[in-house]
Symmetry: C2
Subunit: 324 residues, 2 copies
């Protein structure tokens, strides 16, 4: 009998999309970062993210407020990837009855902190018993102000691929935790990702930005999602994928390759977007000035092949698949 | 160290509500059946329900589409309890990688079936790995058409307590499953509850209905929620709490007490509401004619005591608490 491991996370999502009905009010259903629904003249966004003990986090490694921050940040990042504004959230938590009360309170404080930092509040949820382990599901509801939002599809031949901030820090932070190596800055990046909400809103108002996704499963895999629907390819420019200083130092100190973390490491929650090459210099300058955050070109779209290459050579798209 | 078992589900929910921020756009936050949010002139509803293998269902007992139906029906029932109209849903599922693909597909079909029966569609979700067991969280988004919705609070002294349909069938169905007794009608009630969406909408437009809740944790406990905030009491009239024929027969055959299932048995997803005694006969007649479903008076509100009594005698409010 075929299992979900056999087909993997992304084929599973496609199979699910096939068995459920949809409606004309749903502008974007299963398959993009967020669902987009029309309510009269408003565009409503919704996204959820589930986090499971022993899979996404370990209670020995992470403080409960960090666990809460991170799962809510992941759901917020999906709102950012469409250019939306988060408004409300629901949080469902299952845990064994012997879970300390303070654990649950701190978990909710962590969720509340990152949500309120971006203008959203927890309005409801569910608390229930589990046999073992804690599981958390956060659903974030948001809105699109104006009529434009960015999807995964939309990149054009010759578009440049750009990314906000720096990649690979979260994955290196997890590596440091697991190997018990000292790297506080990387560990902080792992536990406290900042979803790029205002940056996403700004980018979605730029008509020369054509498509966007957040980097949750690694640069190579998420860039792959950007080309999948448009039948294009991307050439990543290895020289331009520059590690942030703490990642470079960490990798040098421990004989690791920074590019591996940057290509395949997930949970950065940066924004990856396709933009018109002619307006790219001005647009990225303006982005840097507005947000005091870097945004760099890391590759370009091409119709010479499909899929992801690095300096012209095919790369194995290593990234996170929950079931493989 | 205090655990969630020590304080129980309802005190836990109160503690959570205290540690998270809120906003003026949130008309009803944590504590009622649904969250109610204002978006300009629209009222948005949101509710979620989590279901955990080994706690809420057993894969040996339940078909995957039944599991999906039931968890989505529970979230829909919260929308019904406010008088809302369900529109969209998100479903997060965690499962081990060796879960059969058909299990996940059937699970989503079950959710899709009950949602589409009431006009809602699944727009997104999350699929992720678990170490053991399946967990499902369904978030339903709905709307209030018009400006009136029913809360748990609002009952007045002298109001009658009425309930739609029949109670205790779902709990007796679970009993039959666990005892391996033959009771197909009860088992069907357990697996396929029908959320009272149109009934809830109709009741919420009646100004003589003052408060409402859905029966998810048993008549005694959910009636308790209706009196908690208003500092009133309820006297349940034992003679009027009449078992449906299949429940009466089942209890007679196996030497059980039907009233126990009706008072303490959860997951009926009927609607329990407070109504003005003067308009009660006309209103209930009209309800029965409109929906070809019974609605009966089972008690009345009083200020002579707080809490729940049965024929004037205090009853232990036995019902479901996830952590006790």
């Amino acid at each position: 009998m075929k299992t979900v491991r056999d087909i993997g996370e992304f084929a599973l999502i496609e199979r699910i999309a096939r068995v459920i009905p949809t409606s004309p009010a749903v502008l974007e259903g299963i398959g993009d970062d967020c669902a987009v629904m029309r309510l009269d003249d408003r565009l409503l966004l919704a996204s959820c993210d589930m986090s499971v003990e022993g899979v996404h986090f370990r209670r020995e490694q992470a403080a409960p407020d960090d666990i809460g921050w991170k799962v809510a940040a992941a759901a917020l990042s999906d709102i950012a990837a469409m250019g939306g504004t988060p408004r409300f959230a629901l949080a469902a938590v299952s845990c064994p009855p012997d879970t300390p009360l303070t654990f649950v309170e701190e978990l909710f404080k962590g969720m509340g902190n990152v949500l309120s930092q971006f203008g959203a509040v927890i309005v409801g949820g569910d608390t229930t018993r589990s046999r073992t382990g804690v599981a958390i599901d956060v659903t974030v509801l948001g809105e699109i102000y104006g009529d434009r939002y960015l999807r995964r599809t939309g990149a054009q031949i010759g578009d440049l691929l750009a990314v906000t901030g720096r990649l690979g820090l979260s994955a290196a932070g997890l590596h440091a935790l697991e190997q018990r190596l000292d790297a506080p800055e990387l560990v902080a990046a792992h536990f406290h990702p900042d979803p790029r909400i205002p940056e996403g809103q700004w980018l979605s108002t730029q008509t020369d930005v054509h498509a966007m996704i957040d980097v949750s499963d690694g640069l190579a895999q998420d860039a792959g999602h950007l080309v999948e629907a448009s039948d294009l390819g991307i050439n990543l420019n290895g020289e331009r994928i520059v590690p942030a200083p703490p990642l470079a130092e960490y990798c040098q100190r421990h004989g690791l390759t920074a590019l591996d973390f940057m290509l395949a490491g997930g949970e950065d929650y940066e924004l990856l977007f396709a933009l018109d090459p002619h307006s790219a210099p001005t647009l990225l300058d303006s982005f840097r000035t507005t947000f005091r955050t870097d945004a760099t070109i890391v590759g370009e779209f091409t119709d010479a092949w499909t899929g992801i290459r690095l300096d012209g050579k095919p790369v194995a798209v290593a990234g996170f698949d929950h079931f493989k």
